[in-house]
């Protein structure tokens, strides 16, 4: 066999799926994906293999690797939802005028205590956003960031803050 020939030249896609199935089940279980979410991930993985079939040299390894990546992406989306929720809730509760004064003071003190563990620039950015209620553009101007990059920087700071509050989902780093 030359190096150009596929090792699986005689395999059909169905054969590969049957062989890979136990390993794929283990991947889903190891990533704690709910069956209803898993069906979408699996369907997407299978379809993508179908489309890339002629380019993929080792379909079994590809399937396992791709499903694993999709599981990670799935949890990234979950984490994003959680961070969005955190962002909205912080904006709400830290700027509520009707909250009793003592409660508001406690809340701000708690918030400041958590901020104290973050890098200085993150502290400043998050104070501007949540305590003073600045919009993203205003934060960028105040801190000297490019408007185009403020979204990313804010996300990073919010992720730092969330990491202080929630013990999940921050092991792997984004590609970019």
């Amino acid at each position: 066999m030359t190096v150009l020939e596929r090792s699986t030249a005689t395999d059909s896609i169905a054969d590969v799926l049957v062989r890979a199935r136990p390993a794929l089940e283990r991947v889903l279980a190891s990533y704690d994906v709910l069956p209803e979410d898993a069906e979408d991930l699996l369907q997407d993985t299978y379809l993508t293999l179908l489309y890339k079939w002629e380019k993929v040299q080792c379909p079994e390894a590809w399937l396992i690797g791709t499903l694993r990546k999709k599981c990670i992406m799935h949890w990234r989306r979950v984490r994003k939802r959680m961070m969005d929720s955190m962002d909205e809730v912080l904006l709400e509760i830290l700027s509520e005028p009707e909250r009793p004064t003592q409660d508001r003071q406690d809340l701000k003190r708690d918030f400041e205590r958590v901020l104290g563990n973050l890098p200085d620039r993150c502290q400043r950015l998050l104070r501007l956003r949540y305590i003073l209620g600045y919009g993203p553009g205003e934060v960028a101007v105040e801190m000297g960031y490019q408007p185009s990059s403020i979204r990313k920087i804010t996300s990073r700071c919010l992720a730092n803050l969330t990491r202080e509050l929630v013990a999940v989902g921050f092991l792997e780093v984004d590609d970019e």
Binding site: L4, S30, D44, V89
Partner: protein, 492 residues
């Protein structure tokens, strides 16, 4: 349960959130009002609840950082009982009767996924038949479209809904890639057409994320075709578009790395080396994290090419060698060939012919596998250089003569001239001036019969004149060969 018995910490809020609420909060599925209470509680610094959120995250992705970083006291530090063990926590989750928890418990064994696998496999079988038919049609249509002028191709596609398929996009991109170095304008037009079709693909039918990946690939192809045509600003715009599409794609690291690598290649062409290296290093890191050796190797290979362009042969050789360690030859034989051929070349240039010799067999076998008579001839030429550096002059002459004959058969005047000069160098080393003269006289008419530009011909005539007077020294011949190479490839 009192607050003290829950870990010794006294949050300001009245109650700990329910475990299932923590779970829903982690998944971003908690109603706003309850989410407010959870956040308030976590802000108050409840270390136990913070830890409990970890039970809702897959262990594969959970950072094992120490608790209490938020300034909240650790339960054990507070001296009031250890946190519940993990089985206790899981038991608490599963005993709650919450549907999410029940589902989690149900799939504790992989068996929970079995019915779903059967359903997906059945639906895939139908898709496979459809896709096979589309692929077959795309092959035929590619052959039909390829020879048409650009405008006619466009009209044909516009009036044919049957062309709006995934395989058709791929077929056009393949055609675009093949034309890249011979007809840049056509390569660009084909990539544009592929984008038009990709934009009209049915996202339901193919899976939206996969379609966005394909669109990103089409835009990055266009960017590369524009780069080859030296239209750098437009190339950048196309690569920006590719990255935007990736944001909505499947998150496939391979797709992302492909775009970043092409971006780095564009930077390299613009001599923005630092930015190019920066991107390629990111690709290397990303690829390593997901154990994509071929992608990592491909990025290292491009870094090596940049080092070559910058005139850093030692660094380039090191990078080529590292890329060879990462690339899987059965999967990426062409990349393997490029890296190993270039490495041998550099090792000779660096005066390390023994190491070059050790690699010759593997390079030869790759060339033989991949066909390409001309590439094989160029490999034999390289082989002759290795032999010459090792002092095996007879063997070098034998191989170079064969190479020169090969180029003659193909009518490649410059290559004939350069191979002749290499051959003449060895004869000169052996004081065989008659051979040097013969080579020079034989090569002149080949040069003259082609449309060789004046500078190259003038350079060759310097050598001819010296050869006729038996004064063609090794250093003179090497100088002439160097000038001739630069006249042909000014950037090298």
């Amino acid at each position: 349960m009192s607050e003290r018995s829950r870990g010794g910490f006294m949050p300001r809020t009245e109650e700990h959130p329910r475990s299932t609420d923590l779970g829903r909060f982690v998944r971003g599925e908690l109603p706003r009002e309850t989410a407010r209470e959870v956040v308030r509680h976590l802000l108050a610094g409840c270390a136990e609840c913070r830890r409990a959120t970890g039970a809702w995250w897959p262990r594969e992705l959970t950072a094992s950082e120490p608790l209490g970083r938020a300034g909240a006291p650790r339960p054990e530090a507070a001296g009031d009982g250890a946190p519940p063990s993990e089985p206790a926590e899981m038991g608490r989750r599963r005993g709650s009767g919450d549907p999410v928890v029940v589902a989690l418990a149900a799939h504790a064994s992989a068996a929970a996924y079995r019915p779903m696998f059967d359903r997906v496999a059945r639906s895939l079988a139908a898709r496979e038949r459809l896709f096979a038919a589309e692929r077959l049609a795309a092959r035929e249509l590619r052959a039909e479209l390829a020879p048409l002028p650009a405008e006619e191709r466009r009209q044909r596609v516009a009036g044919s809904p049957e062309l709006l398929t995934w395989p058709m996009v791929e077929a056009l991109l393949d055609e675009s890639r093949e034309r890249g170095f011979t007809d840049a304008a056509d390569a660009i037009d084909l990539a544009h057409l592929a984008i038009e079709i990709a934009d009209r693909l049915d996202e339901e039918r193919y899976s939206a994320a996969a379609v966005y990946d394909l669109r990103a690939r089409a835009w990055s192809h266009l960017g590369n075709a524009l780069r080859i045509g030296s239209r750098f600003r437009e190339a950048q715009e196309a690569l920006d578009a590719a990255r935007e599409h990736l944001e909505r794609g499947s998150g496939d690291v391979a797709e992302r790395c492909r775009v970043l690598t092409l971006q780095a290649t564009l930077y390299g062409d613009q001599r923005r080396f630092e930015e190019a290296y920066g991107l390629l290093e990111r690709v290397v890191r990303a690829a390593r994290r997901v154990e994509e050796g071929n992608i990592e190797g491909g990025a290292l290979l491009r870094m090596a090419r940049l080092a070559q362009l910058e005139g850093e042969p030692e660094r380039a050789a090191d990078l080529f060698a590292r890329s060879l360690d990462r690339i899987e030859p059965h999967e990426e034989p062409r990349q393997m060939l490029v890296a190993s051929h270039n490495l041998v070349h550099l090792l000779v240039d660096l005066g390390r012919p023994r190491e070059a010799l050790e690699r010759l067999d593997s390079v030869r076998s790759l060339h033989q596998s991949l066909g390409g008579r001309l590439d094989l001839l160029r490999f034999r030429w390289l082989e002759a250089r290795v032999f010459e550096e090792l002092g095996w002059l007879g063997k070098a002459i034998e191989v170079l003569t064969e190479v020169r004959e090969g180029f003659l058969e193909d009518g490649l005047a410059f290559d004939v001239a350069l191979a002749s000069l290499d051959l003449a160098t060895i004869h000169s080393r052996l004081d065989r001036h008659a051979e040097v003269r013969r080579l020079a006289e034989e090569t002149l008419p080949i040069f003259q019969s082609r449309e060789v530009h004046r500078e190259a011909l003038a350079t060759f005539l310097v050598f001819l004149d010296a050869a006729r007077r038996d004064r063609a020294s090794v250093s003179l011949i090497r100088e002439v060969a160097g000038k001739l190479r630069r006249a042909i490839h000014p950037t090298r």
